[in-house]
Symmetry: C2
Subunit: 232 residues, 2 copies
Amino acid sequence: MRDTDKDIIRGLRLFADVEADKFDSLMMAAYAQRFPAHVDLIREGETADFLYIVLEGSVELFSTSHGRETSMAIVAPVSTFILAATIKDAPYLMAARTLEPSKLLLIPSSNVRTVFGDDPAFARAIVTELASCYRSVVKSMKNLKLRTAIERVGNYIIRLHDKSGKADIVELPFGKRNLASILGMTPENLSRAFGALQSHGIMMDGARIEILDRAALEAISKPNPLIDDPRS
Amino acid sequence: MRDTDKDIIRGLRLFADVEADKFDSLMMAAYAQRFPAHVDLIREGETADFLYIVLEGSVELFSTSHGRETSMAIVAPVSTFILAATIKDAPYLMAARTLEPSKLLLIPSSNVRTVFGDDPAFARAIVTELASCYRSVVKSMKNLKLRTAIERVGNYIIRLHDKSGKADIVELPFGKRNLASILGMTPENLSRAFGALQSHGIMMDGARIEILDRAALEAISKPNPLIDDPRS
DNA sequence: ATAGTTAGTTGATGAATGTCAAGACGTGTA
DNA sequence: TACACGTCTTGACATTCATCAACTAACTAT
């Protein structure tokens, strides 16, 4: 793999403190690969052969059961996914596919587990990473259980707004079909929710959203830092 | 604290491999305490001062937002809760209260973080524990997003049945009000779901459920090991 | 005993959300 | 250009689920 990729990986908190030789052994075993859009990467229930890192593009994690399907998360660069399954050597609970042409790094799970056992710094970094993942799923669950569909959509827009540095206009980072599934509703219902929010401080134009009245948007969305704040 | 408690803690996978002196330092700082039923232990948003371990009784983890409330999990002996917040030194995402008279062990978070930094075996054990917690929330989320109310109730009974070693009669481990919230529905709806399931292989009598026709129960519940199997 | 309290049930109703069908719009391709 | 395709939107309708109210049963306290 290229040295630039290596530097990027080194920059991730997960790998920042790994001993040099351990890090090299991981990178030797790893390989970067480009995938077209809409390619299945892993299936639910398979055993975790690789730890994945998204370098470019985006990857959807989703689950299926008896004919129904739902998006669990969308992974943007640069971050890992399915770390928990890798560490536990357990079957994947979610399937993964590319949403767009993407560049991924694959590190064999056995190497990850070896270094995890040998290098305390790596073990500690994994703890922090897993704790973050855990807290992020808990937040998603609170979002689902404590809010109506409109509130979920409203708060999603608010988060986009915050991330953009409160620019007036924000853009949806992926298709509405995917967003609807992430937010636990049908695409039709997401459309209606966007429609309803137009009288509460926003204006939609395709994937672009203009925030006209942040206060009104907050009034109907009722944001809560213990659900929405990515840092908490 | 008593030696018997200490032995119980030592028996937890989380503490099994901690070095003796580190373990003692944790236990010196910790204290066991009995609480009556329905006592608030922690509130959402507070910083994580203690790692909790349920020794006896049971504890409900729940969340609140703008007047709504939902149960996230119920913790039975012997296990820890709010490990992630402790490690990250971050605010609790969930509140906790006793459901019944309970005995808990409280370990100051700072001590946990110290040993976590010093003892690689402890760090590794925490990784495994956190990975399990993470996977368990993911499963709950799949349960919520991919299933109807009746399916969730049916699969809950199936899990009870499996845990009991497939005894004909199982008993709900806590009140229906709490169960309804855990399963993401109202108590009224849980009642109706139980009612509906009576024509699909079960018979209810208060908190006791007789499984008459496991195949019929599975037919309507559509169990899925990647959601229901606690080991996977 | 009597009243008060709580958990649970049941029925009637309404709100929220999903489903189905049709159409608009944009995009890539023959 | 015209066609097919996918995405999104909109409306009508069905279903699921929550809400409200009334009621029962069991337990507590006086």
